[in-house]
């Protein structure tokens, strides 16, 4: 049952990703990417990561994709691809991709996960809840990276305004 769910959701995720790459229209690509992200949110739920799953939908499928669609609509029809200049580009890219995939699968089948098992076993998570545990973890051990991200976001806001504004 779990395996059937994993295979079907994984197939949806892969189809969504393939759609992003192959569809001609940028709006269709964006919608395909949303499909991919929702499928990944389901996989996060299966991995007992409820908080990440919800954040994935709110931030990625919500905020980031709305921003993408805004820009696609803003640029309009002229933002299309021109003629292909390098004839061998597609074949070369797919060959390189196949090589990369072969390498990843070769490594993944060894089942290597270095590192000691941690304390957050499913029983511990079930007792106090995933969101509570992740929140406490973020504000204790990861508090410095967490604060640094606020600076990063501020810089990104300023940078985006400076770049996109016609006249300052």
């Amino acid at each position: 049952m779990e395996l059937a769910l994993f295979l079907s959701v994984g197939a949806i995720a892969i189809l969504g990703a393939v759609g992003v790459v192959t569809l001609r229209n940028a709006v269709h690509s964006a919608l395909s990417l949303i499909t991919n992200m929702v499928a990944l949110a389901v996989l996060f739920l299966m991995l007992n990561a409820q908080f990440v799953a919800i954040v994935q939908i709110i931030v990625y499928a919500g905020a980031v994709m709305v921003l993408f669609l805004f820009v696609i609509m803003l640029l309009g029809e002229k933002a299309q691809e021109g003629q292909e200049r390098r004839p061998g580009q597609r074949v070369f890219a797919v060959a390189l991709g196949a090589l990369l995939l072969a390498e990843i699968i070769y490594v993944a089948q060894f089942n290597l996960l270095p590192g000691l098992p941690g304390k957050a076993t499913p029983e511990v998570v079930a007792r106090s809840g995933n969101v509570q545990l992740v929140g406490r973890f973020l504000f204790s051990e990861y508090v410095f990276p967490f604060e640094v991200t606020s600076v990063l976001l501020l810089v990104a806001i300023v940078g985006a305004v400076v770049l996109a504004k016609r006249k300052l």
């Binding site: 994984g10 499913p122 985006a160």
Partner: protein
């Protein structure tokens, strides 16, 4: 329970599709979306590894990756808009002023 290698291979497949998308497509917007696919694949790997090691580090790092991705999208789309204003195209083959 599903073996962790299934998740790793799924992440690898998604990452590869994103890579091929970056290499094949020439529309800067779609290249950006391919980067998002790659980031998502890495997030899946992080969460899967964290789940199988009973660790919360994977999920914490995913949140940081998410923030970086959001910042990257904001700045990157602003760059694309600026380039489109200047050159009237988002085709990355046309933007070759610095090319020798």
């Amino acid at each position: 329970m599903i073996p962790v290698s299934y998740y790793l291979i799924l992440g690898g497949i998604l990452f590869t599709i994103g890579t091929v998308g970056i290499l094949v497509r020439r529309n800067a917007l779609i290249i950006f979306m391919s980067i998002e696919v790659m980031l998502n694949a890495v997030n899946l790997t992080f969460v899967a590894a964290g789940r199988y090691l009973n660790s919360l580090d994977g999920q914490a790092i995913v949140l940081l990756v998410l923030t970086v991705a959001a910042a990257e999208v904001a700045v990157g789309l602003a760059l694309i808009v600026a380039i489109f204003r200047g050159r009237g195209t988002t085709d990355v083959d046309e933007v070759n002023l610095l090319k020798w």
